[in-house]
């Protein structure tokens, strides 16, 4: 007995009810459950689809799909970091490395101006406001996607979430730090100033890669990560 399309769709729903939200993880579990249900129904034809499904689900143990989700998340974290590192590294190879050092030196000279803190604070404030606006736009899009019950892949969600976390944490913290400690950059040593400028440029690159580059290339990255991506989108 082979399961019908309707029953397959029900299994997708079933995984969602058991906290599996991403399509790639769901798909593997659905195929597994389907195979097992087919086998169970062949052995004991008297069982209904739902009974066979519950029997199959029990085999996953008391934590249900949790272990699977956790392992998948870990795997994807590793993949995400690898991609991030790949883009990040690009800024230290020619020709981009010239820009990296150019920015560092530019920042260094800006910091040397007396009262440069205010320039930095204003710039940071500008970035935060601008990015908040972008996040707001993105959230709206995401909500629409969820409402339409589009298939969301785990990596896709991670690319979105990391982008949302960044401004909130990094920039607001830096803003507060500069504001509260009242450091005067222009009175610092040159070598310290260089360290400060270089670290700032590193953070900006990281921000740019996670918040702009990766979301813009999301489609490409997803195709590279998921062999089924094209197939699924064309269904």
């Amino acid at each position: 007995m082979e399961l019908t399309q309707n029953q397959i769709n029900q299994l997708y729903k079933f995984t969602r009810q058991h906290y599996v939200y991403h399509y790639d993880v769901q798909t593997e579990l659905v195929d597994h459950l389907a195979n097992d249900i087919e086998e169970i129904c062949t052995e004991t034809p008297s069982l209904s689809f739902e009974e066979a499904r519950d029997k199959s689900f029990k085999k996953f143990g008391i934590f249900g799909f949790m272990d699977v989700i956790e392992a998948k998340q870990k795997q994807m974290n590793k993949r995400y970091r690898k991609i991030l590192w790949r883009f990040f590294k690009e800024w230290f190879t020619l020709p981009k490395v010239l820009l990296t050092f150019g920015f560092t030196i530019l920042l260094f000279f800006i910091l040397k101006i007396p009262f440069s803190e205010y320039v930095i604070l204003t710039a940071l404030f500008g970035i935060v406001v601008f990015d908040m606006f972008q996040i707001y736009k993105q959230r709206k899009q995401q909500k629409q996607k969820q409402q339409k019950q589009e298939k969301i892949f785990l990596l896709e969600a991670m690319i979105g979430e990391t982008r949302q976390g960044f401004t909130g944490l990094a920039f607001i913290n830096i803003f507060n730090f500069i504001n509260l400690t009242n450091v005067s950059f222009s009175s610092l040593d040159n070598s310290w100033l260089l360290v400060v400028s270089f670290s700032a440029v590193l953070i900006i690159i990281l921000f740019y890669v996670t918040a702009y580059l990766m979301p813009n290339k999301a489609e490409e990255l997803l195709e590279e990560t998921y062999p089924e991506y094209k197939l699924v989108k064309s269904l």
């Binding site: 593997e28 579990l29 195929d31 062999p227």
Partner: protein, 112 residues
């Protein structure tokens, strides 16, 4: 059915070995295959199999392929080049382990 705990540490090696001799397999197929080979002695649980597969994939030992089978998508796993090398290592480790256990459990037969 024997003590499943004893098999736990060997799950990855078992998966790699199976994939070495079967080219590509999907999750459910692996559980069934093991059950068949061991005549039901070893039953890989779902809750352990997929995390192990995902870990091996993250480590770059496995590659995935997806195909539409009937009305659903199926995810196949196969060894990468690294995976093939690692399988040989793991199997050698396993032989060593079996030998050591043999010595420990059955000292009188170990007159080498």
């Amino acid at each position: 059915m024997g003590n499943q705990k004893l098999y736990k540490g060997s799950l990855q090696t078992i998966i790699l070995k199976l994939l070495e001799s079967n080219d590509k397999m999907y999750g459910y197929e692996i559980t069934q295959h093991v059950k068949e080979l061991t005549k039901g002695e070893l039953q890989i649980t779902e809750g352990a199999l997929y995390p192990a597969l995902h870990k091996l994939e993250a480590d770059g030992l496995l590659d995935v392929e997806v195909a539409k089978v009937g009305n659903r998508l199926r995810k196949y796993y196969k060894l990468t080049e690294n995976g093939t090398k690692e399988t040989a290592n793991k199997l050698a480790e396993m032989q060593e382990f079996l030998k050591t256990m043999q010595h420990l459990v059955n000292p009188k037969f170990s007159l080498e």
